[in-house]
């Protein structure tokens, strides 16, 4: 046999780094020595035979490598390798390879592998580097599970406040005040013997009628629970919740080295957004709000680099927007005085759905309890203009479609809003509906819940099981389709000769939002967040469990791709856009993205069948 007869296999191998560095005769020899295997998801793991190590070359399918503790080391797809660490180190196989998707794998035997390493220095270097990198990678995948894998030492405060056992409680209280902490460690002959907290001072000193001269050892908690500094944060949380305590002395070799409080843990988990929202709520002028809001892009970057879930990022960013909006309303009400009637500030579109990302514009409206008289209308005009311009200055630009509370068209009383919705629902004109769809993703950011409910309940009562309206909404949502062509190839958008890439927003997430919206309106579900809508639809058995989970995963995956792409654009100072170039993706990610779009495509066929009764 001559190797050219194995053309498709040779072509594939030749396209892989580092096989592309081999001479054609070496490559032929390599291809001829391969054996081909097929691994099925049903068997869960690739059976790795330690007496017979091989280089595994993934031809199709998806796999993940975990070490013996079950930690994720790597995810693999077409053109990736596994099995090389034991080939290189000669050590026994300790990693396990899980089969995520059925796949075809080429095996290269150790003799040929060694021969290729001798033949090509680049080949040898590549696998040695990959080996070293995989060891490093262990850290990368950890980022997500901060509390379960990070150590106490990373969150505790060092140099703890200490006091001698013979001091009096007044001195202890003074020390705590100076250091602005809520606890002090009590030391007897360099050894930790107790802890004195705010609570002890209250319960054992003040409430008992003792005075400040009481010795510390009579008020402290003796034999406190302690942990060592290399304990897991997770263990600390467990200990605290088991014993109902908020302070843990950290002790190494019998020496107190730090204190960990429940606040430290909270801060470590999601400090930034909470701090930012707290800061927003403390600001008293527009100027200071503007300067605080400059931190928002940084917050987004941090969340992206911490590999947070896209859904969480959307929720966090939206809560910041909500807090900013509320603060602007409150500040302006201080200037304008009490409102003449109850009102709700409505958020539409992405803010309504809680999936805001970088460079969002405003989509909002105002809901008034009843028809305003002239004075009231003047009040609300002034209020909304001030809030909208405040938002604009904080980075949420004016809505190009003028869907804003400052536009009198979208500053309506309850009955006017109800009529407006009724006109969309009862005479669903395609074009009008297309613009109206964002109004159906509405949420109240400010104002009494009862007022908002009386609007939403009325709207949902009209949309529920309203076949004509739902068919109209469905047809609108089918105008765009996922960017997949024949043979599941990506369809790229072009702008003249320049390839813009895949539009992840309009051909991905927007479609899933549309699908979830149609279902939710058909069933009268109050949720507006897409992931929550899908969850409720699944619980109510309106979408079957498998399809719902697939759709939720596709939504998360595409949103995640969009955010990490924007993170990439940001760090490379490129303009932020929704376009992704598929050639920048690894083959595994490309494969997953294709599958996600396939799910969107199937779900579109689903609503088409269900709501328009056509194929």
């Amino acid at each position: 046999m001559d190797a050219s007869e194995l053309q498709p296999i040779t072509d594939f191998i030749q396209g892989l780094v580092p096989f592309d560095t081999l001479s054609s005769s070496t490559l032929d020899l390599c291809c001829k020595s391969l054996s081909v295997g097929y691994y099925s998801k049903a068997s869960a793991f690739v059976p790795l035979d330690e007496t017979d190590p091989q280089l595994y070359i993934v031809r199709s399918g998806a796999f993940e490598v975990r070490n013996d503790d079950g930690e994720l080391l790597d995810r693999l797809g077409e053109g990736d390798y596994f099995g090389f660490p034991s080939l290189l180190s000669g050590e026994k196989v300790s990693n396990r390879v899980r089969i995520l998707e059925d796949g075809l794998v080429y095996h290269l035997d150790p003799d040929t592998f060694d021969y290729l390493r001798v033949e090509s220095r680049q080949f040898d270097r590549f696998f040695n580097r990959a080996f070293a990198k995989r060891l490093r990678h262990q850290a990368r995948f950890k980022a997500k599970e901060l509390t379960t894998t990070s150590r106490v030492s990373s969150l505790m405060s060092n140099n703890p406040l200490i006091i001698d056992i013979n001091a009096c409680v007044r001195d202890a209280a003074k020390k705590m005040r100076e250091a602005r902490v809520s606890s002090v460690l009590v030391i007897d002959n360099h050894k930790l013997c107790g802890i004195l907290t705010d609570r002890d001072l209250r319960n054992r000193v003040l409430a008992e009628g003792q005075d400040g001269s009481l010795p510390v050892h009579q008020a402290m908690t003796t034999q406190p629970k302690v942990l060592s500094s290399n304990a897991l944060v997770f263990e600390a949380m467990l200990l605290m919740s088991e014993h109902g305590i908020h302070h843990l002395p950290i002790v190494d070799d019998e020496r107190a080295v730090g204190v960990l409080t429940s606040t430290d843990i909270l801060r470590g988990q999601s400090s930034q957004p909470l701090l930012l929202i707290g800061e927003i709520e403390r600001q008293n002028s527009l100027d200071s709000l503007i300067s605080v809001s400059k931190q928002i892009p940084l917050l987004l970057q941090n969340l992206i680099s911490a590999d947070a879930r896209a859904e969480e990022i959307g929720r966090v960013l939206t809560s910041v927007t909500d807090a900013l909006t509320r603060r602007l309303i409150i500040l302006n009400q201080k200037l304008l005085g009490e409102a003449p009637m109850a009102f709700c500030w409505l958020a539409f579109g992405s803010q309504g759905r809680q999936d805001q990302a970088a460079c969002s514009d405003q989509d909002n409206g105002l809901l008034l309890a009843h028809e305003p008289d002239e004075a009231a209308s003047g009040y609300f005009e002034a209020l909304t203009k001030a809030v909208c311009s405040g938002l604009d200055k904080c980075g949420y630009i004016y809505c190009p479609g003028d869907i804003m509370a400052q536009n009198p068209k979208w500053r309506l009383s309850l009955s006017q809003w109800q009529n407006r919705f009724a006109s969309w629902v009862n005479t669903p004109e395609p074009k009008a509906l297309m613009h109206a769809s964002i109004f159906f993703d509405m949420r109240s950011v400010f104002g009494p819940a009862s007022l908002f409910d009386s609007l939403q309940d009325k709207v949902l009562a009209e949309t529920k099981d309203n076949d004509i309206f739902l068919a109209g909404m469905t047809n609108n949502s089918l105008v765009e389709s996922p960017p997949l062509g024949f043979f599941k190839k990506f369809v790229l958008e072009r702008d003249g000769s320049e390839v813009k890439g895949i539009d992840l927003k309009h051909k991905g997430n927007a479609l899933i939002n549309d699908i979830a919206r149609v279902y939710a309106l058909s069933a009268g579900i109050k949720e507006v967040n897409t992931a929550k809508r899908i969850r409720v639809l699944m619980e109510k058995d309106i979408i079957n469990r498998k399809d719902a989970l697939n759709l939720a995963d596709a939504h998360e995956f595409i949103a995640h791709m969009r955010l990490s792409n924007q993170g990439y654009q940001h760090t490379h100072t490129m303009p932020i856009s929704n376009y992704l170039q598929p050639k920048h993706l690894s083959s595994l990610v490309r494969h997953q993205l294709r599958d996600a779009f396939k799910v969107v495509h199937d779900a579109q066929s689903g609503i088409k069948l269900k709501f328009t009764r056509s194929f």
Binding site: M1, P8, K32, S35, V36, G37, Y38, S60, L104
Partner: protein
């Protein structure tokens, strides 16, 4: 159980009738394969290219074989034989890309047949739409040994058809072709075609089918032959 018994007695009869020793060995070998679990069965995925579709008039152009041992295709033992034909390659050249001058290193049909019978000793044959390939091989072997020869093979097309029928799918035209069948298992598209590549493609398809049928459980050889 019953089908295995029937098959065995058929093979026993054929072995008894066979005059040529190589053929006797082949039938006996097939008999002992029937007791094994699928992953233990040594197999040989094959594909033929012919000048046409009629075994009576058309001739074999090339034979590709690749052994499957313990669930792996062994490419180092794969072989591709070109066979000499009478007359010119003619029209089929456009399909197979085999040109007359390729046939210079071709062997005679007689050599090809004894080589093939030697290779399939103790191996279960695998082919996509096996009746066609077997018809040509049986004709060739019968001519060579001057007595009737009946080969046995796993047919990946028949397996695919049964699977689809069981799922109550409407069989579209071309849905059972090798490429279309492979696509359902996410197997790669092989652009080039020759007997060897198609034999490999067919072997890979069988591995995928076995894993889909078994879902992690053991599969009996007779389930594939049914």
């Amino acid at each position: 159980m019953l089908s295995r018994y029937l098959l065995k007695s058929k093979l026993c009869w054929r072995a008894f009738r066979a005059e040529e020793q190589a053929l006797k060995t082949y039938y006996h070998g097939q008999q002992s394969l029937l007791d094994l679990d699928v992953e233990r069965v040594p197999m040989l995925a094959i594909d033929l290219e012919m000048t046409g579709l009629d075994a009576q008039f058309d001739q074999i152009l090339s034979i590709g074989i690749v052994p499957i041992e313990e669930g792996r295709l062994i490419l180092s033992k794969a072989e591709h034989k070109l066979v000499k034909i009478e007359g010119s390659v003619g029209q089929s050249a456009t399909i197979h890309g085999i040109l007359d001058h390729h046939l210079n290193r071709a062997v005679s049909p007689e050599e090809a047949m004894s080589w093939f019978l030697e290779r399939c000793q103790g191996q279960m044959l695998v082919a996509h739409h096996s009746p066609l390939d077997l018809a040509f091989l049986q004709k060739g072997l019968s001519t060579h040994f001057r007595q009737g020869v009946t080969l046995m093979a796993i047919d990946t097309l028949a397996i695919e058809k049964r699977r689809l029928m069981r799922q109550h799918e409407v069989l579209k035209e071309g849905a059972l072709r090798l490429g279309a069948s492979r696509a359902r298992y996410g197997l790669p598209v092989y652009a080039a075609h020759n007997a060897l590549i198609d034999a490999i493609a067919c072997g890979e398809l069988l591995l995928a089918q076995i894993s889909a049928i078994g879902q992690g459980e053991r599969v009996k050889l007779t389930e594939l032959l049914a």
